[in-house]
Symmetry: D2
Subunit: 340 residues, 4 copies
């Protein structure tokens, strides 16, 4: 890191900073500029707390040089990671094939789930999404079917062969969800639920980690690092839109996240255009854009009867709209040397 | 709610909306305007899912009329709530006296905690803050002392009489933290950890709930509603800054939250100027402003040696700075007919 | 619009609202709900000031129903507009062909401009960008070559046939820029420079209007409306990224703007991935995504020597990178039934 | 500035950076760290374009050390500036007395203006605000009375002695507004209308410069620098709320701007709680908070009949509310060793 002293900082203050740097087991390199003195810190300070130096008198600011994450970083692993989606290991996220995970926001009934699962399978989806435990803004809203929903998901897998991607909201649900799911989803609201991240890191199933709604890239990758540091390196990063001042969408879908995450990390990147816009009529365009931008996968809300969906009807597309979208992205995938 | 049809919507589409409204157990009132038709929905739709109607064909948008929270709302309880801070019920948040909760970001050692506790007590603080379980962005950062930290907090209470305010990060920590703390803090990153909110609602200690870093007021009050709906109505709302594009602060402290929350809710409002700015040199001014704006309490990071703090040194003030600040806010409190 | 009364509003307050509605020349429809009374306003209130009603006692909020813009709206003109780019009217924005406007951020010299112009022309660009008047954050930065720059742009047009797109920053530059340019660009910082919008509306050249860095869609379309209301309907809307908390980009490129603007307006939509990310290494992916999302055009910063660019070197791509990108988007355009 | 090389950058790349640094007339200091090489640039690079270095191969990022503004900076002038408000030089902004500028959003009529002016004068205001030229989001909204409005403002000054603060929207209005006004206001939408800033810098009247709705502090101070660099150093900085995701306010009032601007600049700071919240019921609290935070002035919308205001009724307070607020802030001012 680089410690920038204030204009007019004293020699004593600089010496005090040097002392603090040495206390951290690092070395200093003092550069006396025309207007400011700067102390460059030499050594691996990746995991050092820079606020210590920010508190010292005469210090203006401290600029980090190294990214604070390591296992998620491309500096450590140059080639792209392939994360398996299925227990049987066939479908992988991060390779030439763009994986499509589709299904209802919530599992609501056997007929709803199976009907949708068969429909999306037929059109080329390889994963089935569906929430059994639902994080809801209001305590009075439908909270999901719980284990009964997980059983229905398992049934759908049996019938269709789709990999099951479903959310786990709490540490004490991890073992249960793990029993049924192929991929554990950690939702945006839980991206910094560190106890849950640790628990996800200590079980063997791959994890689809959603970016928090106002998380920076660094925070997002540090959340992945929590999981990886506990031993589970099968992490997929999912961009699902961020909170901005925009009011025509529920979230602003930041598609530049795709090339940026590929630049700094080896982990695969999945786009959620349903949460990412909150409007069913924007989903098709954003699926097309995501594939063109290089996304490794899509996760899309599809409901056989959006008007009667118990959750998120306004952002769900119908199986027919899904079919049209799939046709479009198959062509785009070819144009960018991928396949769907 | 109000269902706004698209320009050019058909009679059949309007009738279909009416059918959906009736399915919800509500009544409709159709208003045919010059350019648009609007369906006003009559009845208590507070807890109905409006996305159902948003998905119907011919619908442009659905505008909610009622706030989706109830127990936290001023419509239900007009007078301000007084929330006790201490087990013995003496200090209360929400009355004439502005309560000041101060202490280190993390509990680090016996001497650090006791020294700070005595110092802030002497200058008029009534609560002691200090984290034993710390939510940290990086898995490699200091994660708190755990139960040992809670024991030190209890010791500090014994010595000073200060109420202990400390964070609980996970459902399985609730019982343990409850044993030692007077007030359970739920941090910004957990504001929508709904399982934790439920657990906090099922235990008897008051809860200091921090606003999520990109939460709307509605989401914040619905998080409080989760706790209240489980039976615990002793909730304090804490504004701790929101995430914006501003880069000279760690968070943007939205002080208009004070009069706004008082306008729509009966719950007391606490300001955290330490997290709310992230810069020790901005804390004093923001404490002054918060008291002038009508805050019911402050929660402030004070460290006897910020340079060697294990967490958040850059936003901690020293006991001396705290003393100067207290003098200032005592005068301001009098000027606004309150006391510190 | 819909006037929502507060819970507990009095009969007198409702009657007063009705009086104000009538003063506006509109009619009211009072709906007494279970918890709230609502006054639906009947008539064309598109251009009425709703803050009048918001100020009345007993009023909680006023919800607009009609969009406040008209000429820019799809309600008024259903088919997509074709906006000519060249004085000779051959290239048009908004049709099957995706127009690519490329060139340096600033005009810096004859060799720089001509070299870049020939290069981008050869690879399929139909427009040449280049600033002669530059809005710069710092008064000490290079402010553009002024009229000399315009002359070089005209020379480049003569040599290459490319349409010239260049920025006008002030009312007193409009006539001059108009003499040389084929398309007048109004920059993000001037999106609400209403005097400039009026002046652009009173001259005949097409206008490329950039979205302000924190403008809503409504504000953006109202800015277009300013130009159109003065008689110039040849407006292209350009999304160039918005300001958010994200720090890995200079701006967050909100690609959902493409389908959204096409949904509500008949005007063509152009994407600026250079300003939209601020990072040359993100430009290629965002060009691909923009074409896949349905953009009618791209405006891209290309510099023959980015290291020595006087402005915005970090977001400029080289002619070689431009060539590679063009190859990719030509294939994507075909996949979405367009052409480049 | 500090040039941070990528991990794995080559010796040639570092040498190329050194060459570029020398081309800028600066000196380099190369620091080879454990994981990264860093090139510290020595010399006054305040006005150098760092994007040049960002474009070089092997460069990861470039970190500026010096603030890019100078005349507005506290580094250049340590003591606080006193900016005169009146032509006769009596009232000054930036001293012990907190100046209150109040009046209608727009000048609408003689009776409206004079009635309000007398009312606010009587309660202690020293400045009168009122727009004659109004920047309006919609082309169909009331655009101000123009010169007739300026005449009424001059009449109000004659009758009350209040200093006239009024907006100038365009370069060709500067001379005219200058004839009537005591202080020229540049609005948030024009904060980066650089031609207007230059014009304001070339005339002698003090300027009240509003922060753009998504401007950083650096951009704000560089806008002030534009004015100062042309010779007019009488600039007041006005914080008027920023655009965030918050929807209960029109803007988020960032009061930490007061101590921050005082920390980095010598210019006085004024708060606009009317624009800063957009809600009349939040204005009183924010006036109190602003004075407690150390603001040098307030600018407040007061209307004698908000319901019939032609602009911004919803954020205007009545003369009675203004009187109550003034009583409160007089007490708070005393508590912070100021006066109103």
């Amino acid at each position: 890191m680089i410690v920038v002293m204030k204009s007019g900082s004293t020699k004593e203050q600089v010496e005090h900073v040097i002392k603090l740097v040495k206390e951290m087991g690092l070395k200093e390199n003092v550069i006396v500029g025309t207007e400011r003195t700067v102390v460059a810190v030499i050594g691996n300070d990746r995991f050092k707390d820079r606020t210590v130096l920010e508190s010292a008198e005469g210090v203006d600011k401290v600029v980090p040089i190294l990214a604070p994450y390591k296992m998620a970083s491309k500096e450590v692993k140059k080639e792209r990671s392939l994360v398996p989606m299925l227990g049987n290991g066939e479908a992988k996220v991060g390779g030439r094939k763009v994986q499509v995970i589709a299904g209802p926001c919530s599992v609501e009934s056997k007929s709803q789930l199976l009907e949708t699962a068969h429909a999306v399978k037929e059109m080329g989806a390889t994963g089935l999404r569906g929430g059994a435990f639902k994080p809801r803004t209001s305590p009075y809203a439908f909270q999901g079917m719980g284990e009964k929903g997980l059983e229905l998901l398992a049934l759908a897998r049996e019938e269709t062969g789709l990999a099951i991607v479903t959310e786990v909201m709490a540490v004490d649900q991890v073992a249960l969800v793990n029993e049924y799911a192929d991929v554990l989803q950690i939702g945006a609201r839980n991206m910094q639920n560190f106890n849950l991240l640790n628990a996800a890191g200590e079980q063997p199933k791959p994890v689809l980690l959603k970016r928090g709604m106002s998380a920076t890239m660094e925070e997002f990758l540090l959340a992945a690092e929590y999981i990886m540091a506990r031993g589970n390196t099968n992490v997929m990063l999912c961009e699902r839109g961020i909170r901005t001042y925009e009011d025509y969408v529920r979230n602003t879908l930041a598609l530049a996240a795709v090339p940026e995450l590929h630049r700094v990390s080896h982990l695969p990147v999945i786009i959620d255009p349903s949460q990412g816009t909150g409007k069913s009529y924007l989903v098709d365009s954003m699926c097309r854009a995501a594939v063109a931008a290089g996304a490794d996968g899509l996760i899309i809300e599809v409901h056989n009867d959006p008007e009667h969906a118990l959750t998120d009807g306004a952002q769900s597309i119908t199986p027919q709209q899904f079919a049209d979208m799939m046709k479009a992205i198959k062509r785009i995938a070819v144009a960018v040397d991928r396949e769907v």
